[in-house]
């Protein structure tokens, strides 16, 4: 199992997830630190992400958009609060409006990610707190949940082959 534990705290709307990878810390870090790598996993295959800006320094951030099957675009942004390459990253993830600027009406998610060497591979601990349940409902509206199911299916097919 890649995901080794999941804890859901309903009161604090917090998800804590632990995943173990066989790759070394530096390679897992590159999945976050290299925007070309990041955009290959951030969005599901049917809603791939394109990162336009990507600056993982405190006070820096990222802007990205995900493109749906009909060519519709959904913008998003990160604001980095702290970063310790190659082991820790904390950022706020939010939505952008049509003008590409952060949409203050939209909910945001705070993400804290740490990487540690573990059993010759890498343990990733991720804590994601969403201020509201709304964000995930919106993602579901965008058809992303469906897209994610497809992604998992594709992965299973690859592994089985």
């Amino acid at each position: 199992m890649t995901v080794t534990s999941v804890d859901k705290d309903v009161e604090h709307l917090t998800l804590t997830l632990v995943a173990d990878f066989t790759a070394p810390v530096e390679r897992v870090w590159q999945l976050w630190a290299d925007p070309r790598r990041l955009e290959r996993w951030w969005g599901p295959p049917s809603y791939p992400a394109t990162f336009e800006e990507h600056d993982l320094t405190p006070g820096g951030g990222a802007t990205y958009y995900m493109t749906g099957p009909e060519g519709e675009k959904f913008g998003g942004w990160w604001r980095v609060s702290s970063v310790t390459p190659p082991t820790a990253l904390e950022f706020t993830d939010g939505f952008s409006g049509q003008d590409g600027r952060p949409n203050p009406e939209m909910p945001t998610t705070s993400v804290r990610m740490t990487l540690t060497g573990h059993d010759g591979g890498t343990r990733m601990e991720l804590r994601s707190v969403f201020d509201t349940r709304e964000q995930m409902e919106q993602l579901a509206e965008m058809g992303m949940v469906e897209g994610m199911s497809q992604a998992v299916g594709q992965m299973d097919a690859l592994l089985a082959g």
């Binding site: 859901k8 998800l15 390679r27 999945l31 009406e105 509201t132 949940v145």
Partner: protein, 135 residues
Amino acid sequence: MVVDGIADETGETVDRLFHALADATRRDILRRCVRGELSVSRLAAAYPMSFAAVQKHVTVLERAGLVTKERRGREQLVRTDPDAVGRARQALDELESAWRARVDRMSGLLAEDTDATGESGATAPDENTTKGPDR
């Protein structure tokens, strides 16, 4: 725009929900009332604050749709609304599946590097990385 439309419709509700859950006393009230209905005066006895203050907390929870309040005689009975808790739980389930899918894709990418003899060139693949992601 789909996304903006949703925000306008539910933003206020969600703000209330989050505000309600942001306070430790209110979360504690929720916990207590999950086990069964409690009167406001009974709740007030459990906290080092005035009846009015506890009543205020209950009102915030009620406006967020987290509890229901019912008057019975001279008592006001508070009960946690399981639907609201259920909605928060469902949201977490969705957040979980989103991150599980992301982790799967991350695993896939890392395995791909190994198969392609180190596309990223960051680190030479070692024997631990050759078996690909576990299922």
